[in-house]
Every structure is written in C-alpha cells, then in structure tokens.
C-alpha cells in the first residue's frame, strides 16, 4: 500500500489527491497526507501520475511494511513503475512499445 509521500520530491500539485481511485490522500495546502491508508488497493497508479516521482507504494497489499524513504531512495525505487511503463513526469507514454502480443503468441 501507499507508504511514502516524499516531502523533498513533492511539488504540492495535489494530483495524487485527485487521481487516487480509493481516495486515500487528503490535501493540506502543503504536502498531501495519506489519510486513509487502509483503503489503498495497491494499484500503483498514483505513482505514475505523480510528476516528480514523490510517491512510493510498497508491494504488500494487506498492511504497511514500514520501509523508509532513505531505503526507497537508495534502491532507486521512486518512479520505478513509471519508468517500466514509459510514463514520464506524470505523462502517459510507452504503450506503442508494449510487446504483450509476443507473449500471447507464446501462450
């Protein structure tokens, strides 16, 4: 679930507040806060909409792992899913390079 909103990366645009389908964030006038972590569906979509890769959703869906921002930064995990898709700065991209049709043939 969502665990980190990095205050050093966040530009306070509140896009995450708007796009989270589960409404887990609250706007504060500054850096948004995770107000309803329990509702997070671990879909990672807030990460890819974030223009500054300031959000981190850990892989465990049942509860928080307690991972630190320092570890996420050290392991270069911020923005990892966006890079894998080809999205950049919150903008969509990369679907034209999706090789899934090759997987379907192999299947």
């Amino acid at each position: 679930m969502i665990e980190i909103v990095s205050a050093t990366r966040c530009v306070e645009c509140d896009i995450c507040v708007k796009v989270c389908p589960a409404n887990v964030f609250d706007a504060t006038g500054g850096v948004p806060v995770v107000a309803r972590q329990e509702d997070c569906q671990t879909c990672f979509l807030c990460e890819i909409y974030c223009p500054t890769d300031a959000l981190y959703v850990a892989e465990v869906a049942e509860g928080p792992t307690g991972i630190s921002e320092a570890e996420v930064e050290a392991r270069h995990l911020f923005g990892g899913y966006a890079r894998a898709l080809g999205w950049r700065r919150g903008k969509a991209g990369g679907s034209q390079f999706d090789p899934t049709h090759r997987i379907r043939v192999a299947q």
Partner: protein, 544 residues
C-alpha cells in the same frame, strides 16, 4: 459544440444537475456509455466513486481483448469459445459483442490511441494497456462534452413511479450531497470483489447490483463467483499470465503435480484447481522457471505491473521460489451481475441500463471466467449499447419524466427497516461476508452442507444489515458498500446452493459433473425476499 448538463439549482450544500443520461461508474464501460450517449445527442453526466481514468479493474492492468475481425471465420471462433462456456452463453450475443468491440477498437485507433505494431508494421489492436487506455478514454469523454463528477459515489437511484429518473449520492472530497435528474441511467459500476485486495477492488463493491435490485431489476449468474487468480503472496497483483510459465512447490520443496501426475508447469486456467488444493493444505511457492530468456524480457516489458512486487521485495521470480496465493475475484472475473433483457442493455426497469461488469456476462461467457479478454470486449460493446439505449429512451420519454413526485429507492445501509444500531458496523459486515465467500475451502470447492451453513450466516447478517445498518454524512458510502457486499454475497451463496451440479467455476464436491437439467441460467429477483428461477428461454431478440 456538444450539449452539456445544466444546473437545476446551485446551493453550497447540495449539487443538483439535470441531464438526459446519467452514467454511474468510471471504468471502460462507463466511458464508452458516456461517449455513445453524447454522440447520440444526449446531455450526459458521468458520476464515479473514484476517478474516471484510474477507477475499476482495467486501469491498473494490461488487458487483452476478445478481438475477432470481421469475416465468415467469426462464426467458427465464436462456436469454439461457446463450447467452453458450460453451454450457458448465447452465440448471438457473442457475435454481436465481438463485432461492436472490434468496431470500437478501430475507433480507438482512429482517435490516435497509441497501439503497438506487429513485425509487419500492422497495428496490434487486440491489447489495451490499462493506465494508458483509461487515461485516453477520460479525454474522449471530456471531448464529447460529458460533465464528469469524480469522487461522487452514487448512493441510490431515483424513480418517478414509472421509470428511473436519476440518482443521488455524496461528493466525498467536497462533502456535499449531489443529485442528478436524468431521463435514463446507465449502471456501469463494475462487479463485486468482496473487498479482496486485488487491483481495482476498493471501488468494486457491487453497488450497482443493490441499486438495480432495489429498482426491480433481476440478476443472473451470481453463483459463478468461484474464479480465483494467482498472485505473489500478500500482493494485489491478481494477474495470472506470468504463471503460465511456472513451477509450483510445497513448503518441503516437493513439486505440485498436474492431473496426469507430471509436475505442474502451467498454473492458469483449469490448473488453478491443483494449486487451490495445495493451498488449502499449506503454503505454496512458485518460480517462473518455464519462461525462456526472450519471453522473460517480453513479460517484464509487457506486464510491468506484475513485476513491481518482485522488484520491491528483492525477488528474482525467474530463479527464486516465492510464496503465492489465490486471490478471490467475486463477480469481477466471475460472470454474475444485472440481468440484461434486450439488445440495448436494458434491465427491464424503464430508464435503467447496465454495462460492463455491473451487467451479467453469463450470456457472453457462461459458467467460465471471461478473464480479461471477453470482459474487456464486453465493456467496449455493452457500454456502447447501453449509452445508445439510454439516450434513445431519454429522447422518447422527453417531458414525460419528472411529472410525478420523485422517490429515492435506497434501503439497506441508508434507511434501515428498524432502529439503527451502532454495533452493526460496515467493517464487521464486510468481514463476515468475506468469511463465507472468499475462503478456498468454502467457495472454490463448494458443498451443499457448506453452502447451507454459509447461507444461514448470511441470512442472519442480512437481517442485521437491513434493520440496523446506517451511516451519516460520508459514512453512508461505507454503509451502502457494506449493504451491497452483503446482498451480493447472499445472492451468490443462495444461487450456488440452488445449482445442484458442477459447471465451470461452480465446483460442487458433493455433485461433480454437469446435470443437463441445469443447462440454463439462474435469475434472481428481489432484495430482501428474493426468488431464484431458471431461465431456459432465449433472450428477447429485439429492443423493448
């Protein structure tokens, strides 16, 4: 310029709009319904619980479609697929679905959706990458002039006594009630995932089923909730595809065997049964070691969300054993939902239409899962039909709507039959339903005695929900979700007990094998006092 919805009255404490068509939901079928209705000349409001673009099961995924190009071969393709549906699907619907879905896939390409290319340079339109597709659809909906209300969950439908004339709900970020008067409503609210932690599940609480049933619509296929999909243990990634190339092991390292006695090397489709059996006995581990290096690359690049859990947990899934689970998927990858009675996706209640996973997909995929592919094409087609049907109904009804007094239809979770009780809470209701409809040994493998016990527990729970569950303000969203989940669970267990046989994903350990007497759909009508009836007849050929 497209026509837009108008404000009826503006007050700071309440939003009140009027439109020809109101679409409830924010996934692909909602988007297609909104575009189709607007294209048909209607003013349209789309209200979603979450955000149009990220809501639903599609946005976080990468989904194939059931893509069948025009040509005589379509009949053979449909016939082959029908053979796998437990004889419950309807080939006429399957054919018209693939035709409409194909046309809308071409439409996406004409609009400029960035499809990938095959080696010969032709666009490959049979796959849709969820985040990109739904972001693209949001833009098309806005370009069509639709008024989009994000984070505006609907709580109930409105009726003028003759027809559905809108819905009411609450804006959860603005903390303000809303009401939209509309001459027709499309329910595109998705399926019911029973709060399992899967992709898209937070919003998928079966709200449309309860709203439709309160209005008098029927449901079908609710017994088919036995679809589960593999995921890394503890994760939300209910995506089976990588497990097509996996081996499976018990805690002691012994391999899990397939039906022929050979080690299992493909964990999807029917093989989920072997994994389910092992998971009931103890922890199960997998390794994606059947994937060749080239395939590993395509999987990583083509299904990047599937690899997020491994990368973050520091696992190399092609070489390391990792623990897995089977995630329950309710009616999302099951087939149940609101029964469709005519070609325009009408529900039989005047002014009320259903699309996507909110609608029953039994006519498309019978007793087996529509997976991503069939369900995705169904969303493309049913959304389109429902949007056209609703806008046509709106035009026909014209000024006749709203002549009599408008009544709100919401009951359980909103207006309890007796006095509210604080000890009946949404969270506990949902947990109690989950205990009956998600455990593998109760719902993947079913038995009459097990279903009887589950049914009794859910009846008791339902009486508490009906009589005592209530919330105020924003809490109403939770209490309504809990009521919807309780209703869906109760219908599902009751239909499963009625179907005295095994068919597709409905696996009765006490009654293995199909019974020809049950080669028909089961239709449920009613909320509190509901009835189940067989529906052997074909669906009406023409729109009402």
């Amino acid at each position: 310029m497209p026509k837009t919805a108008r404000a009826v009255r503006s007050a700071p404490e309440r939003l009140h709009l009027a439109a020809d068509v109101l679409v409830l939901g924010g996934g692909p079928s909602a988007a297609w319904a909104a575009v189709a209705a607007a294209e048909n000349g209607a003013t349209v409001v789309l209200a979603d619980k979450g955000y149009l673009g990220t809501s639903g099961a599609t946005a976080p995924s990468n989904t194939g479609t059931w893509c069948v190009p025009p040509g005589d071969n379509r009949h053979a393709v449909v016939e082959r697929r029908w053979q796998r549906t437990g004889e419950l699907a309807d080939q006429r619907w399957m054919l018209r679905c693939v035709d409409t879905a194909y046309r809308n896939l071409l439409q996406l390409s004409e609009w400029g959706y960035p499809f990938p290319s095959e080696d010969d340079g032709r666009l490959y339109i049979a796959n849709l990458r969820g985040p990109d597709y739904m972001r693209f659809m949001r833009r098309r909906v806005l370009l069509a002039g639709v008024t989009v209300l994000d984070h505006h969950p609907a709580l109930e439908l409105l009726s003028d006594g003759d027809a559905i004339v809108g819905a009411a709900g609450v804006g959860r970020q603005v903390e303000r009630d809303w009401r939209v008067d509309a001459r027709a409503v499309v329910l595109a609210t998705g399926g019911c995932a029973f709060r399992e932690r899967i992709l898209g599940s937070t919003g998928l609480t079966g709200d449309g089923y309860l709203m439709a049933a309160e209005a008098g619509a029927s449901l079908s296929g609710m017994e088919f909730t036995g679809k589960y999909t593999l995921a890394p243990h503890g994760s939300s990634l209910n995506k089976g595809l990588p497990f097509r190339w996996a081996s499976f092991h018990r805690e002691d390292g012994s391999p899990i065997l397939g039906p022929t006695g050979e080690p299992l090397r493909n964990g999807i489709g029917d093989r989920e049964e072997e994994v389910a059996r092992a998971l009931i006995e103890g922890p199960v581990y997998a390794r994606l070691d059947q994937a060749e290096p080239a395939l590993q690359g395509w999987l990583r690049q083509g299904q990047p969300n599937c690899f997020v859990p491994y990368d973050r947990a520091g696992i190399d899934p092609f070489n390391d054993l990792f623990r897995i689970t089977l995630r329950a998927e309710g009616t999302v990858r099951g087939t149940g939902g609101i029964d469709i009675v005519s070609d325009d996706c009408a529900t039989g209640v005047p002014g009320l239409y259903a699309a996507g996973d909110a609608a029953s997909r039994e006519i498309m995929t019978g007793a087996v899962s529509g997976g991503g592919a069939v369900n995705s094409s169904w969303a493309l087609a049913s959304g389109w039909w429902a949007g056209k049907g609703a806008s046509t109904h709106a035009r026909r009804r014209g000024g006749k709507a709203f002549r009599s007094e408008v009544q709100p239809l919401g009951q359980a979770g909103l207006r309890p039959a007796a006095s509210p009780r604080a000890d009946v809470s949404a969270g506990e209701v949902i947990e109690a339903v989950r205990n009956e409809v998600t455990p593998l040994d109760k719902n993947f493998f079913r038995s009459d005695t097990g279903l009887e016990k589950s049914g009794e527990r859910l009846e008791t729970l339902w009486r508490d929900v009906r009589d005592h569950l209530q919330g105020e303000g924003l809490e109403r969203i939770r209490t309504r979700e809990a009521a919807s989940i309780a209703a869906a669970g109760r219908w599902s267990i009751a239909a499963a007990r009625y179907r005295n046989e095994s068919r597709g994903m409905h696996r009765r350990t006490d009654l293995p094998g199909k019974n020809p007497a049950f080669a028909h759909r089961l239709v449920i009508t009613g909320v509190d006092d509901f009835r189940i009836a067989g529906a052997p007849e074909r669906l009406a050929e023409l729109a009402s």
